[in-house]
Subunit: 367 residues, 2 copies
DNA sequence: TAAGTCTTCGTAAACGTTACCGATAGGTGA
DNA sequence: TCACCTATCGGTAACGTTTACGAAGACTTA
């Protein structure tokens, strides 16, 4: 039924399917104009309006222009909701990350947003707060919203991947970045975790540091593993011993970082350099070392991953391997849209986002 | 037509409205299970399935349980899209901010997310990148997505508000925060801009600083105005002269901040303290002053707004007025849901989020 | 002028869900 | 036995949009 007219009308028997409807005028101003409104005012059918607004064929220029003009006046914009509903797509992608507040992820989001906008997509963001349970709920919610694709960086708790494996097999386009899941063959954005760690440690060695310790993150995280491998590989290349007491897995917390420093200082041979895989830990260690009166970089060299403004400001400034988070986001989004637009070619396709070694005072023993 | 059956059937004449449809089997695995699928498998109608899944009355416990069990097995989740479409709401709110990467806004977003999740809403985020044009486009897009409400912090370019005024008058629930628009009577989240500035400047005066300069943001921004008013008010209270040459409006850029310092140093009476309303500018000035060999806090006191980790790390550590961004987000979202749930009581309702003065070395002349 | 072609527009199905109304069956009361 | 009630379930309109199909008019061609 359209504003008083019957909607379904059997022509062979003149039977009306809908009863009369008493038009109770709702005085509420409506937020959205619909093509139905336009059609009624213009005295044409909704199909004609739709054709006019979409610049389809089968319409006279005169009608088209008139309709477009009216649509502009009523500042009509199509209900993307209904449109997506009709076409089976939502023009929306979902993003699951551990925490928005972390500068790395904020940068990634920014990159995602930019590329999504260019493609005419909107972005729905969820944070897991490093909780597996929340992550599952988030993905469930995004799924219920019928996102066209998913961009995921897992929580550090996540060790079971049956949910996303299931979704992947059902054909939901998705791409992993940063906190990657190697159990599902989704396209992934790789960062130079191994390479960066290698370069950082090699740089320390070249500066004359001999006893280099690593403060890694949770052992389940791939970035922990990769960066540790880079660390070990650099030591091996330069024939330095690999000592278990120099390798610690933490939880990225400040408490753990400082406790590790304490523990290392108790050793008969304390390390003369520390590679903290998280830049925040590196900054915290710098501050702590100064409190303890340990000279940086003379007595202790410090390097880390991730170049936030902090690394530049702390004294001495921190040598880091920078990961270009915005770039990661852009590439991840671009890859996702690639998958969305041609699902057939869904073979695994990894992309490497290059980083850059930025040398500052905290590691310059030779000056 | 539903899987081979005719859809519209006139009972009084046995006329079928739809022609036969050759079922071309699509081999593609479908991502989403629908109630139609469940209905077909169970041999019941979609109405029954809907009732069962929503725990409505008019259904036998046996049927309900069986349907719910099957739904679980097929891991069905309702298409929130279609549901919202049907009920005229989307359970989605839109957020427009200048930039995700700024820690303040990241914090706000985090707070918004949390409250939205509690209310069963999803969040759609757009960044204007401080461009008026982008902002308008963003809002247009969110509107097209039929968000149930809007949370806005304007770009620094935005001076015309006809778009949101229009939307507000049409009854779209929305709330302003941080970069507020005073021309539209939306509910607003106020921060202690005046109070914070007042406390910061009074603190400087109590420390013995006499010639206090202010580096403000764009004059159009309300936070610039409010913080400047607090600055002036504190000076007046303590009978200090208000000198135009000590009051500068910039664009928050590093270049402008450093140029301002240079200009101030050229004065016959250079300021002995600087209040930068943006913490980043404050940090940049600290670094620059050190380069110039100006002792902080003895020769120059520095204070700012916004307490990021940076303020703690920079040397000397920065005295700030902290704004609790997460809290701002939480309160803004809560207020928005308030408006959404009872539109009648849409009178203007402002909420004040309190801040806190955090004193550190950069302003401790007396030590 | 009859038949065919092209232009332009209307009709209604479809997407997934909810809600209203009606239908059916079984039970209960007189 | 018949009317009435209740529990349970089915049918389908509606939300806004796109689109396949058909219809009607205008125009062209033989």
């Amino acid at each position: 039924m359209i504003r008083g007219k019957v909607r379904f009308h059997c022509k062979s028997c003149d039977y009306h399917f809908t009863q009369e409807h008493t038009e109770k005028a709702s005085p509420q101003k409506q937020v959205h104009t619909t093509i139905k409104d336009i059609a009624q005012i213009m005295g044409v059918s909704i199909a004609t309006v739709s054709r006019a607004l979409n610049n389809k064929a089968d319409i006279s220029p005169k009608t088209r222009d008139a309709i477009q003009k009216l649509a502009l006046e009523l500042d009509y914009n199509p209900n993307l909701f209904a449109k997506g509903f009709q076409r089976g797509e939502t023009k929306t992608i979902g993003v699951v990350i551990p925490n928005i507040k972390r500068p790395f992820f904020a940068g990634v989001l920014s990159g995602i947003q930019e590329v999504a906008n260019e493609h005419g997509y909107r972005v729905m963001i969820c944070q897991s707060n490093e909780s597996y349970e929340t992550e599952v709920t988030n993905i469930q919610g995004l799924l219920a919203s019928h996102v066209d694709g998913l961009l995921i960086s897992h929580s550090k708790e996540t060790t079971r991947f049956n949910q996303i494996k299931n979704l992947f097999e059902k054909g939901l386009p998705m791409v992993h970045f940063d906190r990657i899941c190697s159990e599902v063959e989704t396209p992934k954005i790789r960062q130079e975790d191994f390479e960066g760690a290698f370069q950082l440690v090699e740089h320390l060695i070249q500066q004359g540091y001999q006893r280099i310790a690593i403060l890694a993150g949770p052992p389940e995280l791939l970035i922990s593993q990769k960066r540790k491998e880079g660390y070990i590989s650099a030591l091996e290349k330069h024939d330095l011993p690999i000592k278990p007491e120099y390798m610690v897995h933490g939880d990225f917390s400040k408490e753990f970082a400082l406790a590790s420093v304490d523990a290392w200082q108790q050793l008969p041979e304390p390390p003369d350099a520390i590679f903290a895989i998280h830049y925040l830990n590196a900054v915290e260690i710098i501050q702590y070392a100064k409190e303890l009166g340990i000279e940086i970089p003379q007595k202790l060299g410090i390097v880390g991953f991730g170049d936030e403004y902090l690394a530049e400001i702390v004294e001495p400034a921190l040598t880091v391997f920078h990961l270009f988070p915005q770039k990661v986001g852009e590439v991840a989004a671009a890859l996702l849209f690639d998958v969305i637009s041609n699902k057939e070619a869904r073979q695994q396709k990894d992309v490497l986002v290059q980083g850059q070694l930025i040398i500052r005072k905290s590691s310059l023993k030779k000056g």
